[in-house]
Symmetry: C2
Subunit: 507 residues, 2 copies
């Protein structure tokens, strides 16, 4: 595996490293225990914490010196994820274990000292699930990067949690296989992070999300016990499905150290098509026509006008001139051409202009979808990640546009239309001297999430709850289910030391 | 939905109804609390149980009279599943709720009186997960048969738990859709039962097992609370995945009353091929060649010589004359023909003779695979359901044959070779006057399960643990994981009234 740069690109990391202007992503009010730093209060207390010194000493007694970091710059670098929420006081230590045994030692110490622990992959998460617990431990899996085995004859791979997802996929490709889930972050997020968040991606409408590709996990429990859950077999129904429970649990149940994933054959062919629609109604008709077809596409991506403009501004393309919204469709496998022929016919019949793309042209369009949009200078921005039943997609976009107009906030979205998952951006110009995003952006974000719930949807399709979505969690799950989920967590972590400010936090 | 006959085909039900000779399926020794009836002791105590009368009275106060049954014939009819394990004393009552509210009322009464409850679908399970608790309640979902909605535009259906799986599939077909999992029991098992056991089937190697097709559940908890878990959306990561936890939980966590399933497009084409091999080694080479191909077949079924002979004897075919083992392959979708062309080429290259089948010939071969084998007269038989990594399939069959020779027991198998799941039959002739299967059959079954574990496999691929597989459960999960699973159950059912003799039983 190639070495990766340390995950120091968080706003706080950048700010502390270079003293540059801090543009923290706007966040709704979080009712948790983490005192969130604001621009007005972004210095950590200068006084060292005596309890923190005890934690560091205990860790250093049991772990190699290179595995325990406690200088302030390192603590800052690992204090948050890409959501930019930061704790008001530093953690005691960052632990960078190189082996499962080191993870177990760290957890035994944390349990003995009743110290909170947050597990961290690449820190690329967008929901604030990784915020360093003040006085606690950040346990980063970034040095657990062994690719333990690839077994083409069983179509599976066993890798350590810190392996970059794209590296796993490339290693599989050498055997004619692939790791099917393809989060946009695949080139820098880790498989352990993907498991923690149950990451999605473009191909998930055909191949399922992370959960559908995880067969087994080695996990270290809060007390340091190492346990294997799941099977090396494709099928297996022995006992409760603890693999499914760990996937998406956001680090609340244990530390995933090894992941056994299912691999799938690389498709023999992939077909790509774009379609441009003049109205939202036309896009909706095209998406419904795709659903009614007998085709299971491998990608159905929708970009609205705002997203097309953003790509045009950033990359010099002319997509927005071609329609009010764009669909990017892919099919793959032995039937790819026949499938795309059928999609071309049903989408065209819905009154939308279509164009088949091949070779570099197709690759470029996919790349533009994945990373073509730039972030605007001097702009506050909140990114939402809701999902609705596919048939409500157009209603959701219309609701989003109404909310934008009502609050005077610019809105735009890209959607994994094949599974009803919308990434909605809400932004407003930054005014001189403004220290926080204007209330209207927060209010619009709140309205967007509520609209998704009202349409039978969910508050997060693939980014996770983390700290950012906690204000809406109980509204979706209900009080009793939230209590039940907390009881389940308590079965794994009776001391409550893992991810104490997670979505399952009780305070 | 067409009405279904009551589930009275269990060995005990038949025995009690018709007084015919009781041939109970042989069972390994079960260390649970259920006193299992033997041939020597198959009469229930004649004395009525006063506590049972209180339970029945409480139920009759709250539920319509037709929903509570307590006569001995009804109690016997619902006392067990198709595994044939029977309790030594009758349950107090069978509850046949027609509505979710009745399920809630029954569970409130059970909680108030601390009475154990076993939830029952069609009673077609093969693992002994449904054994009536003596003095307790059998809650049958067979009258919860409403098909609440089918939404083609969202590719989902919402049905009550008692709907027969095949009926759901046929209702979906009217919209060009299907419910992909296809357990062999689809024409008589219920979707609720499939959810409880995480049922598999032939198509699961391409489309996944029940878990991959369940989006949301309405469940009644042990205390009568109604709760919805999961989403109507294809994607959703809000909170712990309680849907995945309920699927395969064998009735230990709550009563599933409504199931929201994902539907998939009916494939435009299906291709079928059979291949006959002269040796186990050739079959193994063919299966490996299929795995190495770029094709994801929709069925890869393997029948060994013993299974072919059984079909021949039962149906007058001549399959066993054509080879020592048969593979039955299907591909489906737009690429079905191209995919089967590739499979034909790689399987033939492995030295195995192939034949493409079309139309009725193909349908007949699939039907023979599903239900062509008869049960021999005057024979004791234990059926096992293990899974191993695909690459170990031939080793598992060789081990099975060695075990058969060692214990003087006839062995045979059919396997879902596409996911390494083997159904192994172990049988021995019944001797005059013999009341129990000979010890050699039990010992051989034990050796088969241990062989699967030694090959990196699991004790049950799709039938579930139930009572039959409990003796091996801890060996697979380990003591700590079993404790953890029990703690998770306790979070849902603190009184421990649900499925008290399940795989999570503590005594």
């Amino acid at each position: 595996m190639p070495a990766r740069p340390p995950a120091d690109s968080s706003p706080l990391g950048q700010a502390l490293a270079g003293g540059q202007r801090l543009r923290e992503p706007a966040v709704p009010q979080v009712p948790g225990t983490v005192p969130v730093l604001t621009r007005a209060n972004r210095q950590w207390p200068a006084e060292p914490d005596p309890q923190a010194a005890r934690v560091v000493a205990a860790l250093r007694r049991e772990l190699p010196s290179g595995s325990v970091r406690a200088d302030l710059q390192e603590l800052a670098r690992y204090a948050s994820d890409a959501a930019g929420l930061r704790p008001g006081a530093p953690p005691a230590a960052v632990v960078l274990p190189e082996t499962t045994a080191e993870v177990q030692a760290a957890m035994r110490i944390a349990s003995a000292l009743r110290v909170p622990v947050v597990v961290r992959g690449a820190g690329s998460g967008l929901s604030g699930a990784v915020i360093a617990p003040p006085g606690g431990i950040v346990l980063s899996t970034e040095r657990l990067t062994r690719l333990i085995e690839i077994r083409p004859e069983d179509e599976l791979a066993v890798v350590e949690a810190g392996v970059i997802t794209g590296d796993l996929d490339r290693a599989a490709a050498a055997h004619g296989l692939r790791y099917a889930p393809d989060p946009a972050s695949a080139d820098f997020s880790t498989i352990g992070g993907n498991v923690a968040m149950n990451a999605g991606g473009l191909r998930c409408c055909k191949y399922g999300v992370t959960r559908e590709s995880v067969l087994a996990l080695d996990v270290v429990l809060a007390d340091g016990t190492l346990m294997t859950v799941g099977h090396r077999t494709i099928k297996g129904v022995t006992g409760l499905d603890l693999v499914g429970l760990f996937v998406g649990s956001e680090g609340t149940l244990g530390v995933v150290v090894t992941v056994t994933v299912r691999l799938r054959p690389l498709p023999v062919a992939t077909e790509t098509m774009v379609a441009f629609a003049d109205s939202l109604g036309d896009v909706g008709a095209a998406v419904q026509a795709i659903t009614r077809s007998r085709v299971q596409p491998s990608a159905v991506e929708l970009l609205d006008e705002s997203s097309l403009r953003s790509i045009d501004e950033n990359r010099g393309t002319d997509l927005a001139a071609r329609g009010r919204a764009m669909l990017l469709l892919q099919t793959d496998g032995h039937g790819a051409t026949a499938e795309m022929d059928e999609l071309e016919s049903v989408v065209a019949a819905a009154g939308v202009s279509v164009q088949r793309l091949v070779g570099e042209e197709a690759d470029r369009m996919v790349e533009l979808r994945r990373s073509g949009r730039g972030s605007k200078k001097d702009t506050w921005r909140i990114g939402e990640d809701v999902a609705v039943p596919r048939s409500r997609l157009v209603e959701m976009i219309a609701a989003m546009e109404g909310i934008g107009a009502r609050y005077g906030v610019e809105v735009g979205c890209v959607a994994h239309a094949g599974d009803g998952n919308l990434h909605i951006g809400l932004s407003a110009a930054m005014r001189p001297g403004e220290a926080e995003p204007p209330a209207a952006v927060h209010a619009a974000a709140d309205a967007v999430v509520r609209a998704a719930l009202d349409l039978g949807g969910t508050i997060t399709g693939e980014h996770g709850v983390g700290a950012l979505k906690r204000p809406w969690l109980e509204r979706e799950l209900g009080t009793r289910q939230l209590q039940l989920q907390r009881s389940v967590k308590a079965a794994f972590d009776p001391l409550g030391i893992l991810a104490p400010d997670s979505f399952l936090a009780t305070v």
